[in-house]
């Protein structure tokens, strides 16, 4: 409700600002060899972001393919839940990001391969995402910044019924607010 009100307010401010700019714009002036036209004054607009997500430079760091923060998936061995050493730096980088951006919110989605009961796989996926969340909080992220959920076997990254596909589907995905 409050967010809606703020959004509506900023929308109307933008509208007013736009009107003001339009009405203040002088008619084209022909200045052959004369003085440059006067500067048009506009009121600066302070952006208000209520999406809760990171903005500006922080956002680009999450998307920059050269930045480790753009790496979002952790893959697992069959029937395993521990984060392999090769993903340690990835988890540490995201934990640091959460520490430095207290308003950032993260969703970790745990996934499994297709074998076995769908509901038991929801449980297995949860165990994976809970494990990543635990690492994040041990590394200094606050509990309320991170939510861990499970998609079970329902959102495979790879189709197919062999280990090649299964190994891509046993994973935890990291998302930031605005991305889900």
């Amino acid at each position: 409700m409050r967010q809606t009100a703020i959004a509506a307010l900023s929308a109307s401010l933008l509208f007013l600002a736009a009107c003001a700019t339009t009405s203040d714009t002088p008619a084209p002036v022909d200045t052959p060899g004369g003085k440059p036209p006067g500067q048009v004054q506009t009121q600066p607009i302070k952006p208000v972001d209520v999406t809760g997500g990171p903005s500006g430079t922080a956002l680009s760091a999450l998307k920059d393919p050269k930045n480790i923060l753009s790496k979002r998936s952790i893959f697992y061995d069959y029937d395993k839940f521990d984060v392999r050493d090769e993903y340690r730096a990835l988890v540490e980088a995201h934990a640091k990001y959460l520490r430095e951006n207290p308003s950032a919110r993260m969703l970790i989605q745990g996934n499994t391969d297709e074998r076995g009961s769908r509901e038991y796989n929801v449980g297995l996926g949860q165990r994976r995402s809970d494990g990543v969340k635990r690492m994040m909080t041990l590394l200094g992220a606050r509990d309320n910044q991170v939510e861990s959920v499970s998609l079970g076997e329902e959102k495979p990254q790879a189709d197919g019924h062999s280990e090649a596909a299964w190994s891509k589907n046993r994973r935890s995905d990291i998302l930031y607010s605005g991305e889900y």
């Binding site: 038991y120 929801v122 949860q126 861990s148 079970g152 329902e154």
Partner: protein
């Protein structure tokens, strides 16, 4: 293999029978006089219903003259010579109000007995439902237990990235879509009164438990706590849902009222505790847990309490489902990488694997306990399969229009 596709059926699920019951009662269901006026053959639907139960064999009846109706005097000797143990005769008549009247009678040709019949008034679009009622009548008279031909099933069809929760008659015909989504839908379960479904939808990018009223499409959120919300099961009186939640860490079993109030935690373990199911008497909750190192089935008192282990053979036993009389437990067991349906007699502790497929899931008893509906995969495609509780009789239901069919749930008897 017998392929049953009634000429008038617009069934999206087609049924294929792949095994046969041991003792099938030969029955002649003669075309009802005047049934052409209904636009579909009631007698063909009755016969297909009875055959699908695995307990009847429908006999071919050539055109007869004069065409017999329920009012005819029966020549029992003649029907015995046609090898019929039972006979159904009927007629359809148009009424002045534009509706129709169907009358039928059932005869035992061995005992030479008139087993009585019923008359129904119906509109044209109720022909299928009426045929199912007639099949239920015949089944109950001859088998001595309630038929399930008038019940409905729910299941999920996945086509591309579209998921549809569908409801159909028990024969797969007359399907209707209750919910369409671009995110997965799993674990539908019928409320005991058959008016609502609880299920898990991922439309919020994580699992949330909804209760969906079928008549008006109204949905309420039963469990949308922080984390994952899944595996709903109705208490037999319909007053509560048992669910699996991760809100306090891990996957643990809670109960909640269908409107989302009254949350109560039942299990406290560091294991995965999920897939709760009430026993039909409401005394117990059976569930899957890996507290012993591998997923096995346990049970606890419905109000919570110390769990007792129920399954011991094998390293992967999941998805417990109690038979309607509470005497049998169906579940999925893994045998050398193959997932199959097992049946445990809770009285004598005997276990029997009743399917021979590779990827069985989500077993669901028919309300009379005779059949178990399940999801499996054949030719890379998700299909539904039904197997009799003795494992002898099997049939397959696949979506004619393509797509994967999964997550079946057989609905209750409707009065």
């Amino acid at each position: 293999m017998l392929f049953l596709a009634a000429p008038f059926a617009r069934a999206q699920l087609s049924i294929e029978i792949t095994g046969s019951g041991a003792q099938r009662l030969p029955i002649a269901v003669v075309a009802f006089a005047g049934e052409g006026a209904l636009g579909q053959s009631i007698s063909a639907i009755v016969r297909a219903d009875l055959e699908r139960s695995g307990l009847f064999r429908g006999l071919e009846v050539p055109p007869l003259s004069p065409h017999p109706t329920e009012a005819a005097r029966i020549n029992y000797a003649e029907w015995r010579s046609r090898l019929a143990d039972a006979l159904v005769l009927g007629s359809v008549a148009a009424r002045p109000d534009g509706r129709f009247e169907v009358r039928f009678k059932l005869f035992d040709t061995v005992k030479q007995q008139d087993l009585s019949g019923v008359a129904y008034t119906l509109s044209k679009d109720q022909a299928r439902a009426t045929a199912h009622r007639i099949a239920d009548f015949v089944y109950q008279k001859l088998i001595g237990e309630k038929g399930v031909f008038s019940t409905r099933i729910a299941y999920v069809v996945k086509r591309g990235n579209r998921f549809e929760l569908q409801i159909a008659d028990a024969d797969g015909a007359g399907e209707e879509t209750a919910l369409a989504s671009f995110e997965p839908i799993i674990s539908p379960v019928w409320s005991p009164d058959g008016r609502r479904l609880a299920y898990v939808s991922f439309e919020a990018k994580r699992p949330v438990v909804y209760v969906h009223s079928l008549l008006d499409g109204k949905r309420t959120v039963a469990a949308n706590f922080r984390g994952s919300n899944s595996a709903p099961a109705w208490s037999p009186d319909g007053s509560k849902l048992a669910v699996c939640l991760s809100r306090e860490g891990g996957s643990q079993i809670f109960t909640v009222n269908p409107d989302g109030s009254g949350l109560r935690r039942l299990t406290s373990s560091s294991a995965i505790d999920t897939e709760p199911r009430y026993s039909p008497d409401g005394q117990w909750i059976y569930f899957t847990s890996d507290r012993g190192g591998s997923p096995q089935i346990y049970r606890m008192a419905a109000a919570g309490g110390e769990p007792q282990r129920v399954t011991f053979e094998g390293g992967y036993n999941v998805s417990p489902r109690l038979s309607p009389d509470g005497k049998m437990l169906a579940y999925i067991t893994r045998n050398e990488g193959r997932f199959q349906v097992a049946l445990l007699d809770l009285g004598n502790r005997q276990t029997q694997v009743i399917t021979d497929s590779d990827r069985d899931e989500s077993p669901s008893f028919s309300p009379n306990g005779r059949m178990i509906l399940l999801a499996t995969v054949t030719g890379g495609r998700g299909v539904l399969s039904a197997v009799s509780s003795d494992g002898r009789f099997k049939q397959r239901l696949s979506a004619a229009a393509g797509g994967d069919v999964r997550e079946p749930a057989w609905g209750p008897f409707i009065e």
